[in-house]
Amino acid sequence: MIGALSNLLDYATGQGAYSVSVPPMDGALRPNSALDKLAIVQRMPAVDNIAAFGDRFLFSAGGDLVECRTDRTGLRTIATFDSPITALAVREDGLVAVALDCGDLTFRRVDSGGDGNRQRLLSAGRGSVTALAFSRTGDLYACVGSALHPASAWKRDLMERGASGSVWRIAVHDFRTTRIAGDLAFPSGIAFDNGTIPVVAEAWRHRLLRVSESGTDVLFEDLPGYPGRLSSAQGGGYWLSVFARRSQIVEFVLREKPYRQRMMREIHEDHWLAPALRSGRSHLDPLQGGAIRALGIYKPWAPSLSYGLLVRLDANCQPIASWHSRADGERHGVTAAVEHNGEVLIACKGDGVLLSLPQRLYQT
């Protein structure tokens, strides 16, 4: 009763759960234009996930699985699927796991074609895998963003304030699946602490968790953006791709149910008042007051629904450095970053570019 009343009071005054404030980007997250200064490796529309193995990288771009050598040669599409690839992982022995938006999971070897055998991750509902990673023991771990929507409908899951995501362990040899955690608000990235304990990015709750069957620990919370894929960094720590930043207006819309419902019903998803991998390219996109082009200039600090942000976390999941592409930048929607052979390869899905961050720029 008291809870309901105080909830009502918060709703009326905009406090508590109805507060729309967003943590500032400060300290290690201080904005810069570092992503925009990086060299483009390849323009690749819809480039999404990256995996590295030996002397080559694997990328997913839409339904295509693309391969390229670390010396940038030999770019070729090695497989094409009928559904967009939503996650990708390679095991040390060259086993590649590919997750598709339709919910299927398929395996192949790096050097040879797949056997066409597709498995469905049971009891994942209508959802699909958002992130994959192999642990040191060789088991595959998978994040399922939502039980209600496929990974491609992430925006709808956010706008419905979804919290039906889960994390699974899959024994590759017999495809035995175990649910490690559930009721997560869109887990969208996974990496391992010491190679064994999974660390998961929970996007809609803006935090990083250590997940095990016995429970979850919060490692870092109140991120100013929506955390996406995680990958291990050399020398300990992680690379965190933040695929969109939080903003007051979106936080406000998330607390306005009637508006959200009508928006989802009446407006095309691309033009919602919601975070996006890329916004401001269409005249139908919502524009915020501070983003008006004044005297020919689009301000870098203008409010925008899309943003580019890559964060280097230390072994305790505390941010120690960050690379940004601000409102006026053209490297928005960072979905993956993988460190391999003295460089970090970064996928900016929003603008469809693949960037390279050389070692000298991230090692101090």
């Binding site: 007051q248 928006m263 008042l273 919502p286 005297l295 409010p303």
Partner: protein, 706 residues
């Protein structure tokens, strides 16, 4: 959908706009004491038997008259930033002195009263000298004079205490003061009201009053502004002493008593009354009417207690509590008034726009996106800031404005040198040149102005007729936007909104109500009148060629309408284009007899939906920083050519928005289309193929032959 109906009806019929406008009035401070007064009367009428009776009201009125005078004095002192505690003793001194002069010295009343007033004014002057000139602290100084005068009075009472009350003076004036009435209002209240009126005029309409408020508001600023602060402070204490004396004389006439308790605690009663009325302790804010209201409240409460026959201690308890309450209220009100105002002033309405036509490239509509505007050659690049409109004279020189209040001129033929043609102030928006070479401009924040060829700035109009039921003063012009010359010699111009200034244009968009109007200036009489009200941000206006009608653009309604201002169908409105894909700004003639309209921005589905949800927008304005609000998409703008029948003939866009993101104006001149944007740093010049290369806009105007 039922929610939709609710929003529509609510935004139409619930006057929350009026509440916000009331809150923005400076006299709203007085509403609180009025409310307390009504509550006090209601409470006392309910609790106290016989409270509502002629005799009770009459005795209260007599008391109020006596108390009001020192309260006025206290209010003046407090408005100037001080406090006068000595009034209790001054009051008692006046009481004693007048009785002494009348009963012991047997002076005539007409001489005794001025003498006593001189005496009390002298007491006030001592306070004034000490505080105003010698800069002593008001509180301690007046406390000391309170004690000294009280002690002196006690000594006097020791010698003459009985003589002074022996006998009554034979005087009609004295009797009138004692218990006379004018039209059944006690005479002393009449005196207080008359003096109050005089003081109100002094305070609000005269130099001294403004100085008193200025000194109280900010002593240092008042000093810097050249006000004699010391003298002003001195005068407030002087007047306070005089008024306390008046009160004492009225008291003497009524009671003919010189008891030692006379005037004891009066300073607290008066202080309570003044603060309850809403005069701020820190100075600078307050009024005579507030002091009067406070006095009435205090008199009603104390009389009610008296009638309840409670022990006398209760009176002090009540006064103390009321004082605490008033001080607390004063502090909270001052702190939160601005906050309340800013959160209630914006009152979003329900606005369901008709479906937007498709404009994306490949849509095949008349509005289909193209890159024609991007090809415009830049003019005056980097030399502009706020060039909403542009115009040419007959020598092809270009005139525009900036947001610093200047009219700028770029001389033909290369338009590279920027010259400040005239400085007006405000932010000039629409600029037009009349047949006589005068440049007319609508200046937001100021009104309708013209600049003669000799560069003299002439104000044509800055006010229109005040509407009867408008709470905010809609006679002043807040946001004059664009104009055109009528065939009858009048100037027809728009005022985009009467509720916001030019910097808050977006708030008017979020409000989405018809806050604007169409005005007509008659140069023969010099008068301006409102001819159309409640338009949705009326922006561009342009005469048609029939001499009877004009077309105007309503920006937030994405609509262009035609209005007949004279002729057989005068007063009629017809919608020309009901569903533009963007927000229309200025309208200008084209050489082929059609019209150009600038699109400030395009519609986005997210905002269109929000416009149907007033509560959503209201909460947005309260909770979200305004830089983060959803705006019309002003980073994509264009120009549409249309016929008077509403047919869209062609469209010019800048798809990327790099050069002309938002277009507020354009003018066709000698085969070129010139494009301006209020947020842009350039003007664009675009060759029009097939356009009349001799066309000059102001010569094409109906009834304005050179």
């Amino acid at each position: 959908m039922s929610l939709d109906v609710y929003h529509r009806l609510r935004s139409r019929w619930v006057p929350d706009r009026a509440f916000g406008e009331l809150m923005s009035k400076s006299w709203i401070d007085t509403a609180i004491p009025v409310l307390i007064l009504v509550l006090a009367v209601g409470l006392c009428a309910g609790l106290v038997d016989g409270f509502v009776s002629t005799s009770s009201f009459s005795s209260m009125a007599r008391l109020a008259g006596e108390l009001a005078l020192p309260a006025f004095g206290m209010a003046l002192v407090m408005i100037a930033g001080g406090v006068d505690l000595s009034i209790g003793s001054v009051f008692a001194l006046a009481n004693f002195a007048v009785l002494f002069l009348l009963n012991v010295a047997k002076w005539p009343v007409a001489i005794a009263i001025p003498t006593v007033l001189l005496l009390t004014a002298a007491c006030g002057a001592v306070n004034g000298l000490l505080i105003g000139y010698l800069k002593l602290r008001a509180f301690l100084t007046t406390l000391a004079t309170l004690i000294i005068l009280r002690a002196a009075l006690d000594i006097l009472a020791f010698y003459w205490g009985t003589e002074v009350v022996a006998g009554l003076p034979e005087s009609r004036l004295w009797d009138l003061l004692a218990d006379g009435s004018v039209a059944s209002i006690p005479f002393n209240l009449v005196v207080a009201l008359l003096l109050g009126l005089g003081l109100h005029i002094l305070l609000t309409r005269m130099r001294l009053g403004w100085r008193i408020s200025a000194v109280g508001g900010s002593r240092r600023s008042a000093y810097n502004a050249g006000i004699n602060v010391r003298k002003t402070v001195f005068l407030t204490y002087f007047i306070s002493g005089l008024l306390a004396g008046c009160g004492g004389i009225l008291y003497a006439a009524r009671l003919n008593s010189a008891g030692s308790a006379t005037g004891v605690g009066l300073e607290i009663t008066v202080l309570t009354a003044v603060v309850l009325g809403g005069t701020t302790l820190g100075g600078g804010r307050g009024s005579i009417s507030k002091a009067l209201l406070g006095t009435l409240i205090v008199v009603i409460l104390t009389s009610a207690l008296l009638r309840l026959e409670l022990p006398s201690g209760f009176n002090s308890v009540l006064l103390g509590a009321a004082l605490l309450f008033a001080v607390g209220l004063d502090v909270r009100w001052l702190k939160n008034k601005g906050k309340i105002l800013s959160s209630v002033y914006v009152s979003p309405g329900y606005l369901a726009l008709p479906g937007s036509p498709q404009i994306h490239a490949g849509s095949g509509t008349a509005y289909e996106m193209n890159d024609r505007l991007a090809a415009a050659e830049p003019v005056a690049l980097g030399q502009l800031d706020g060039a909403e409109d542009l115009v040419f004279d007959l020598q092809d020189n270009l005139y525009t404005s900036d947001r610093h209040g200047n009219i700028l001129r770029f001389a033909a033929p290369d338009y590279s040198v920027r010259e400040v043609y005239a400085h007006i102030g405000g932010h000039p928006l629409g600029v037009h040149i009349a047949a006589d070479g005068c440049l007319y401009t609508c200046v937001s924040g100021m009104g309708l102005y013209k600049v003669t060829p000799e560069r003299d700035v002439v104000r044509l109009s800055d006010q229109t007729n005040r509407s009867l039921l408008s709470i905010i003063d809609d006679s002043r012009m807040r946001f004059a936007d664009d104009m055109d010359f009528g065939p009858d010699g009048n100037v027809y111009f728009t005022e985009a909104t009467i509720r916001y200034d030019v910097t808050d244009w977006a708030t008017d968009c979020i409000e989405g109500r018809g806050n604007g109007r169409l005005l007509c200036y008659d140069p023969k009489s010099g008068a301006t009148r409102t001819i159309l009200r409640n338009r949705m941000f009326p922006n561009g206006v342009c005469m048609t060629n029939d001499g009877e009608s004009l077309i105007y653009a309503e920006t937030w309604a994405c609509r262009i309408s035609r209005f007949w201002f004279r002729g057989p169908t005068a007063g009629q409105i017809e919608v020309v284009i009901p569903d533009l894909p963007g927000y229309p700004d200025n309208i200008r003639r084209s050489s082929d007899g059609n019209f150009w309209v600038a699109l400030l921005g395009v519609r986005s589905p997210a905002l269109d939906l929000a416009m149907q949800m007033p509560d959503f927008r209201k909460r947005m304005t309260r909770r979200v920083a305004f830089e983060e609000w959803v705006y019309p998409n002003l980073n994509t703008g264009g120009i549409v050519k249309f016929s008077l029948q509403g047919t869209v003939l062609e469209t010019l866009w800048d798809i990327t928005g790099e050069h002309h993101p938002s277009v507020t104006s354009m003018r066709e001149h000698k085969g070129y289309l010139w494009v301006g944007g209020i947020f842009n740093n350039r003007i664009g010049r675009l060759k029009l193929h097939g356009a009349d290369p001799t066309y000059i806009d102001q010569l094409g105007r109906a009834g304005a032959a050179p």
